[in-house]
Symmetry: C2
Subunit: 131 residues, 2 copies
Amino acid sequence: MDVERTLTEKGLKKTSCRIAILALFKKKTHALSYVDFEHLLPLGFDKTTIYRTLYSFEEAGLIHKVDDHSGLLKYAFGEVKQNGHPHFSCEKCHNTYCVETTSTMKLELPKGFTSNQISTVVTGLCPFCYE
Amino acid sequence: MDVERTLTEKGLKKTSCRIAILALFKKKTHALSYVDFEHLLPLGFDKTTIYRTLYSFEEAGLIHKVDDHSGLLKYAFGEVKQNGHPHFSCEKCHNTYCVETTSTMKLELPKGFTSNQISTVVTGLCPFCYE
DNA sequence: ATACAAATGCAATTAAGTTGCATTTATAAT
DNA sequence: ATTATAAATGCAACTTAATTGCATTTGTAT
């Protein structure tokens, strides 16, 4: 929970924008987009700053990008292990979550195709939007 | 291979743009983007027309959209069955292909999440780019 | 041949994301 | 504590994908 210590550990300067954004990441359980930050942050940081903050967090391994096909790139708190993990995107509230899974994603490809990475996005309803 | 008959069967007017685009779809084995059509079509159709042609083809079930995370929406020839199918995107040439598979994509979700659709994009090297 | 609906082209717009540059800020050195 | 400096920020402008409105053109049924 100690936002400022996390920044120091990762060698990132403790700036107001980074503190605010990292605090939000630690609070929310779903992935966040730059639009979320524009709306959720009390101080109106410039979108350039938000994008660059997200970039520095990604470089530091604090977050990872999630393309949930919404047209708005999202960022999820936590580093991605090995081959990535699936993501779940709610059709109703459009919140996107990382899915922890034990099953290894594998897929037979046609002859001659070699697989390097696999990206899976499941859409459906999250517990808050179901029924 | 008969482009014009396909259009008639689908209740689509046989316009030059549709004929040209559908002919390309029938020739190519990978998904195509509006940029491809801008480059590949002899007559310079307006991008609005290209997009609207793609829309009408999608409505008619002739093609389906593929988001391969390239930032450029692609369209693959052929209707999508049931729950969709995986797609393969080559890291080098950036061509994207539909993957025919028998294995049913399934994934355990956390409690309370219900799955509706699953989208899988595999990245790696295609046979033409391997080694 | 003609009428009408649909398709097209053009211009303008929206929105995500990026880049350059001048200014400000965090931090390490003094 | 003060200062130097490298990095972070804000602003403006730009790029690119995709969409919309509208006037014009084209395909097709009559």
